[in-house]
Assembly symmetry: C2
């Protein structure tokens, strides 16, 4: 993308500025397009997966989970970090089963999204999961959440009215809407 040289920033030096176990902050010196040098702080994140689980009757499987930074319970699709060296598709299967107990026979990749481009390299891969069978959840220690189901119309209404504000869940809902309408198709 050399035609973007008027926008690009180039690393001069840098490294880890904070490692708290959960969050790792990098701080680099970078050269701006005008030649000036400034610093850029950002989180290195392994990436995450998001599962859009649609039951045979069309209802959608969701979670309610307390998220400490906003001190609030959020409605979310099942999701989680990609383990080191793990294939994202395997992460999606693992997270769905761990968090909800469900397994799925029919998986399709939907999209990759970037959720905090100003200060994190995190990406999330969204997968559609169908052919669902219920089993036992195996939550991580210290993980507390509850599962429930809703219709697509309910989800859309909750996005419209602000009851759903989590970006991965909003985007998953809009994608399910596009697929359900037949406007968009996968693969």
């Amino acid at each position: 993308m050399s035609n973007d040289a008027h926008l690009e920033e180039v690393k001069v030096d840098g490294g880890i500025a904070y490692d708290g176990g959960f969050l790792k902050i990098h701080k680099d010196h970078v050269r701006l397009p005008n030649g000036a040098v400034t610093s850029r702080e950002y989180i290195r994140h392994p990436g995450a997966v998001v599962v859009l689980p649609v039951l045979d009757d069309g209802r959608i499987l969701l979670e309610r989970q307390f998220r400490y930074p906003n001190s609030q319970v959020f409605i979310e699709f099942p999701a989680g970090k990609i383990d080191e060296g793990e294939d994202p598709f395997d992460s999606a299967k693992r997270e769905l089963e761990e968090e909800t107990g469900y397994t799925a026979t029919d998986w399709q990749f939907v999209a990759t999204i970037h959720n905090a481009i100003a200060y994190s390299d995190e990406h999330l891969d969204l997968y559609l999961a169908r052919g669902l069978t219920k089993g036992e959840a195996k939550l991580d220690e210290g993980e507390f959440l509850e599962c429930f189901t809703a219709t697509l119309d309910e989800l859309l209404e909750w996005v419209r009215t602000g009851r759903i504000t989590d970006v991965k869940t909003i985007i998953g809902t809009f994608w399910l809407d596009k697929l359900h309408r037949g406007d968009w198709k996968l693969g």
Copy 2:
């Protein structure tokens, strides 16, 4: 939300673990629903605004901006942090004019979204801006971006095919689609 006590985490103690100037990391000890104590690390963020600028001819105003964490140019709606004590609506007007030079006569609140609920309290307020008039951009020092326009159909196609991956821009595009179809209305 006492009916969510089985999900809630309560702060025991904590505070700032890292202050790099741009990013502030808090680390708290919290009591889990089962009584165990663990730590939670997260970013405190002042919040941000996102502007969906629709020109009189229906074309949509966008930016291309290099984002260092992913070392990539992203297609984005105009956006920026809320200054301390600033009304978010004023932030939206300020960011649109600073980044694009445009001013707007017709503003409407669209939605609030949360983009990184596992490790940041950041929220973004989306505003629709119409009645646009072109002026001179006044970029912050060290800020480099270029503006362009696209049709709603182009934006939707770029969301579908993965050319647009930034969450605020995906969600803004889906909202513009819902408004344009007449499925949803504002205020």
